[in-house]
Every structure is written in structure tokens, then in C-alpha cells.
């Protein structure tokens, strides 16, 4: 534990230091403008004189305004403590059922993510089984699965939503569909690799026992694919979350982290954007960690870890 903790803390601390430092040039122009309005002397004077100057130069010239760059209401780059405070306020200080709570929005996003992930991973596994067992499927599906991932999902997400809406599907389902679309691919790729991981010798062995296709699938291919499956599930669940967020952007139902992210940007609420951003990353980390825990458990019981 200590072996990981100390380096991580060091790196995080370094990033924090850089972050605070970066806030100064990022936010200095606004700080100078407000200071000037309040009658303080800044250099150079006049907003237009500063407009085209480099932020670094301005920062160096006006050390007195540095502290103002960490407390603005709508900064270009919010300071770490602002983000943390906002995260705290919107998770701990409001009821988790309130629409001002990130827990509430997180839950909405999470539920669509989980549904999408289950659909996507399920589809991925089924496709992989098909690909491994049918040459025709292997040859025809794989290139198109790759091509499908080169389509910008954000472009077709609104169409998917509109079309599903028109047949009466709303809210959870359209988001889950997009989320599934993004998560099936890593699962297919990993699962195909996994199902093909038994060596020819392993396969020959079950053949000498005259095992049926089904038997060699359940007793050999499937267990052998477990480590690959979990590795790709971890990527898949992260993609799934991205998919849900993308699905939330145009959907307009208004609940979920994705929507919170964007509505922050309509109103210039940078602190709110950043806190939603971190909430999403934390959610992703939790999802991946959960799968990691299941993985350790299962692989341990299988004697593979």
C-alpha cells in the first residue's frame, strides 16, 4: 500500500502545485480588470492595453493580484480547492435526491451506464462466440466492427435519440443504447482473443476425449478467456460511461452528469463543469475498481491469481 501511496501523493501534489501556478496566468486578465475597477493600480492600465499581452507577462508584472486568481466565481481555470469545495457542496451538503446533488445526477448516469454495459458486454460476448465458432462471421464481421468504431458517435447520438424517441423510447434506453454501442467493441476484441487463447494442444486434448463443441466451449475456451474478459470489461465499462455522457448531451431530459457538464458550459460556470468532470472520472474509477475487485475474486477462485 505504502509503495503506491507515497508516489501517488507525490505526483498529485506536483500536479496541484502546477495547477495553482497555472491558475495565475489563466485568470490574471479578469483579476486585473476587477482590481482596476476597484481603483487599484495595475500595470499596464486599461483593459484594451492588456488585451493582446501575454498572460505570463501580465502575471509577472502584477504579483499583488495572484491571490485573486484563485477565488473567482467564473474563472477560466478554477483552482483545485474551488473544485473540491463545489464537489463537497454538491454531494454532501444537499440531499442525495435533490437535483442539485451530483449523487443524484451520478445515479441517473450510472443506471444508464450499467444497463448499456450489460447490453454491450452481452452483445460483445455473443459476437465473440460467433466469431470464434463461425469462419464466415469472423471474416465478415470483424472489419466492420472496426469500421463501426471510426464513426463519430457524437454525430449519430442525436439521430439515435430522435429515432428511439419517435417509437416511444425515452430517457434511460436511448442512452443505454449509445453506451452499449461504445462498450461492445473492446469486449469483442478481448473476448475473441481470450476464446482463442487455448493452445492447439489444449484443444487437441479435449478432442482426444471426443468432447462436443459445447463441452470444449464451457470447459476450456470460456474459463481460459476469463483474464481477457475482465481486462476488456474494464475498458468496456469506461467506454460505457463515456457513451452515456454522450447520450445525455443532446437528449435534453436534463438529468445526469453529462447534462450537468454541458449546462455548466452554457452559463460559463467553469467550477460546475470541472466538478462534474471530476465526478465523472471518480465514477469511472469506481466502476473500473469494482470490476477489478470482481476479477480478483473470480480469478482467485479459479486459481489464476
Amino acid at each position: 500500500m505504502k509503495q503506491v501511496l507515497i508516489p501517488v501523493i507525490t505526483v498529485v501534489a506536483t500536479i496541484m502545485a502546477f495547477w495553482y501556478a497555472a491558475c495565475v496566468p489563466m485568470n490574471i486578465k479578469f483579476a486585473l480588470m476587477t482590481a482596476e475597477r476597484q481603483g487599484e493600480i495595475v500595470s499596464p492600465e486599461g483593459m484594451m492595453a492588456r488585451r493582446d499581452m501575454s498572460a505570463l507577462v501580465l502575471s509577472v508584472k502584477n504579483p499583488a493580484q495572484w491571490s485573486d486568481t484563485w477565488v473567482q466565481a467564473k474563472p477560466r481555470l478554477p483552482a483545485p480547492h474551488q473544485v473540491v469545495t463545489e464537489l463537497w457542496k454538491s454531494t454532501m451538503e444537499v440531499k442525495p435526491t435533490s437535483k442539485r446533488s451530483l449523487v443524484f445526477h451520478g445515479w441517473v448516469t450510472l443506471s444508464a451506464t450499467l444497463l448499456g454495459f450489460v447490453i454491450g458486454a452481452g452483445m460483445g460476448i455473443v459476437l465473440a462466440v460467433g466469431i470464434v465458432h463461425s469462419r464466415a462471421m469472423d471474416m465478415s464481421v470483424m472489419p466492420w466492427a472496426i469500421a463501426s468504431q471510426t464513426i463519430p458517435i457524437l454525430a449519430i447520438a442525436p439521430m439515435i435519440i430522435v429515432v428511439l424517441n419517435s417509437v416511444g423510447l425515452q430517457g434511460l434506453i436511448p442512452k443505454a443504447v449509445i453506451s452499449a454501442y461504445l462498450s461492445f467493441f473492446p469486449v469483442v476484441v478481448g473476448m475473441v482473443k481470450g476464446l482463442r487463447s487455448p493452445s492447439p494442444m489444449d484443444l487437441d486434448l479435449v478432442k482426444t476425449w471426443s468432447a462436443t463443441k459445447a463441452q470444449s466451449f464451457w470447459k476450456l475456451r470460456l474459463p481460459a478467456s476469463a483474464p481477457y474478459l475482465f481486462a476488456s470489461l474494464k475498458i468496456g465499462v469506461a467506454s460505457s460511461l463515456v457513451g452515456t455522457i454522450v447520450g445525455e448531451l443532446p437528449s435534453g431530459t436534463g438529468q445526469g452528469l453529462g447534462f450537468r457538464l454541458l449546462s455548466g458550459s452554457y452559463y460559463g460556470q467553469t467550477v460546475q463543469i470541472w466538478s462534474a468532470l471530476f465526478a465523472t472520472a471518480i465514477l469511472a474509477a469506481c466502476l473500473v475498481a469494482t470490476i477489478g475487485a470482481v476479477e480478483r475474486g473470480v480469478l482467485k477462485r479459479m486459481g489464476l491469481a
Partner: protein, 280 residues
């Protein structure tokens, strides 16, 4: 309705043909390897056309492939400018910057175990920040032109590359590392002569993943502000103008460019890692 039924009949027929081809005599020939996916793809397109016509779907919902093709043919200059703006300027430069940055950090991480244990977990957290959230911020910072798109792509590409290069550098066996040690090789000799070549399959794995991410990243970033050219720009504005045929023409360009980029990298991979069992 008859058209819809025809679509499914077509599907069944094409699938039967593919099964025959794939399990037939010449299944390993280049021609069949190419024909099977092409037949599959063409069938999908034909089904799309038949279903759209059969159900008389309005163009503003889903245009038929023939319409998309017609629009594609008449808009080639526009599509080309958009392609240059998004792919060449945004995606490629971001891809290069992200790849190189990942490479240097990977070497840092490789030299210091402390950094590895610190950077990799933090890096994976940062990588989990959703692009749709970071893109508006980067547009705010780096402006509306391709620079902000390159920044988005750089961030998207960086972590998968870092993870793959680091994993690749660990790929050598203890024996190989010991061997080079008995020759009293320096760190850089070991890196250059042993570990980098051994890492190449991983590096290419990372490049392949990143290639699709790069294009998607550049397009997505354009949704959050852009000059008046670019694939993402065209897609988002054309939806507003209900020019869905244009939207799909751009999607076709994206899929084509993405697949070709991926295929190109796979070709180079074949050439660089000719020695790897998976390539023989």
C-alpha cells in the same frame, strides 16, 4: 413492405454465400478474404436502401444510401476541405504530439519505478475525464482553430499510448535482460537494441487504438467551437439545416478515413514487426 421482405431475403442469401465462401476451398486466398467482408458490407447497404424505401422513411430521419452517395459525389470539394481541416490538421498533429509525449513519459517512467507507481494511477484517472467535458475547456484555452482539436486528440491518445509503450518495455524476458547485462550494455544500448524492438507489437497495438480515437476526438472537439470548416462543424450544422444526406456523407468520410488510417498502421506494423509470431 415487399421491399422490407426483399431486404431480409437478400440478407439470408448473402449470408449463405458468405458461409459457402468462408468454408469453401479457396477460403485462404486473398480474393475471398477481401470478398467476404465486402459482400457483408454491401448487403448491409442494400438492406438499408430497401428498408428506407420500403418504410418510406423521411429523408430528415434517415436518408437512403443512394441519396448519401449522390450528395457525396456533388460535395467532394467541401468534404475534402473538411477532411483536411479535421483529419490532417487536427487529428494527425494531435496524434503525433500525443504519441511522442507518451513515448518520452514512458521512458521517464521506465527509468524510475517511483514515477511509474505515481504516474500510472493518476494518469488512468485523468484518462477517465470524459472528452466531451474537456473539449469545451480546451477550445476555450486553445482557440477555435485546429490547435484546440490537436490538444483534445493529444489528451485522448496520450494515455493508451503510454500504457502500451510501458507494457511493451516490460515485455522482454528476464533472460534477455540478463543476457544484455552480461555484455555490460548501458541503459540506452539496452533500450535501443533490445527493449524498443521487443516493445513494437505493443506500440502498434497502442497506435491502432489511438488511430480511431484521434479522428473521433478531432470531430467531437469541433462540436464545441470551430472555424467554418471541418467534419464536426459540417455534421453539427447540417443536422440543424436538416441536410441529413450531408451528415451521412461526412460520416462516410470519417469511417473511410478512420478505417484507412487503421489499415495503414496495420500495414506498417506488418512491416516493422515481421518477426512477431502473429505476423507470420
Amino acid at each position: 413492405m415487399p421491399l422490407v421482405i426483399a431486404a431480409f431475403l437478400l440478407w439470408a442469401g448473402a449470408w449463405f454465400l458468405n458461409v459457402q465462401l468462408a468454408n469453401g476451398r479457396g477460403a485462404d486466398t486473398r480474393a475471398v478474404r477481401l470478398a467476404v467482408p465486402v459482400i457483408f458490407g454491401l448487403t448491409l447497404v442494400a438492406m438499408w436502401e430497401l428498408i428506407v424505401r420500403g418504410l418510406a422513411l423521411p429523408m430528415v430521419i434517415l436518408p437512403a444510401p443512394s441519396m448519401i452517395g449522390a450528395r457525396f459525389a456533388t460535395s467532394i470539394p467541401t468534404l475534402w476541405t473538411d477532411f483536411v481541416q479535421t483529419f490532417v490538421k487536427g487529428a494527425l498533429s494531435g496524434f503525433a504530439i500525443g504519441g511522442l509525449a507518451a513515448f518520452f513519459v514512458a521512458i521517464l517512467v521506465d527509468r524510475s519505478d517511483f514515477l511509474r507507481r505515481g504516474i500510472l494511477p493518476v494518469g488512468s484517472f485523468v484518462a477517465a475525464l470524459p472528452i466531451v467535458g474537456t473539449a469545451p475547456i480546451l477550445v476555450m484555452w486553445y482557440g477555435f482553430d485546429w490547435q484546440s482539436k490537436a490538444a483534445v486528440v493529444t489528451i485522448m491518445v496520450f494515455f493508451p499510448m503510454l500504457v502500451n509503450i510501458t507494457a511493451g518495455l516490460q515485455e522482454t524476458t528476464q533472460m534477455q535482460r540478463d543476457q544484455i547485462k552480461t555484455w555490460a550494455a548501458s541503459y540506452w544500448q539496452g533500450l535501443w537494441k533490445l527493449r524498443l524492438p521487443a516493445a513494437m507489437p505493443f506500440v502498434f497495438n497502442g497506435l491502432k487504438i489511438s488511430s480511431t480515437l484521434a479522428l473521433i476526438g478531432a470531430i467531437v472537439a469541433e462540436f464545441f467551437g470551430s472555424p467554418i470548416a471541418g467534419m464536426g462543424f459540417r455534421i453539427s450544422t447540417s443536422v440543424g439545416q436538416l441536410a441529413l444526406d450531408m451528415v451521412w456523407a461526412e460520416i462516410v468520410v470519417a469511417a473511410l478515413a478512420g478505417s484507412l488510417f487503421y489499415g495503414g498502421i496495420a500495414l506498417v506494423e506488418r512491416w516493422v514487426t515481421y518477426w512477431h509470431p502473429s505476423q507470420r
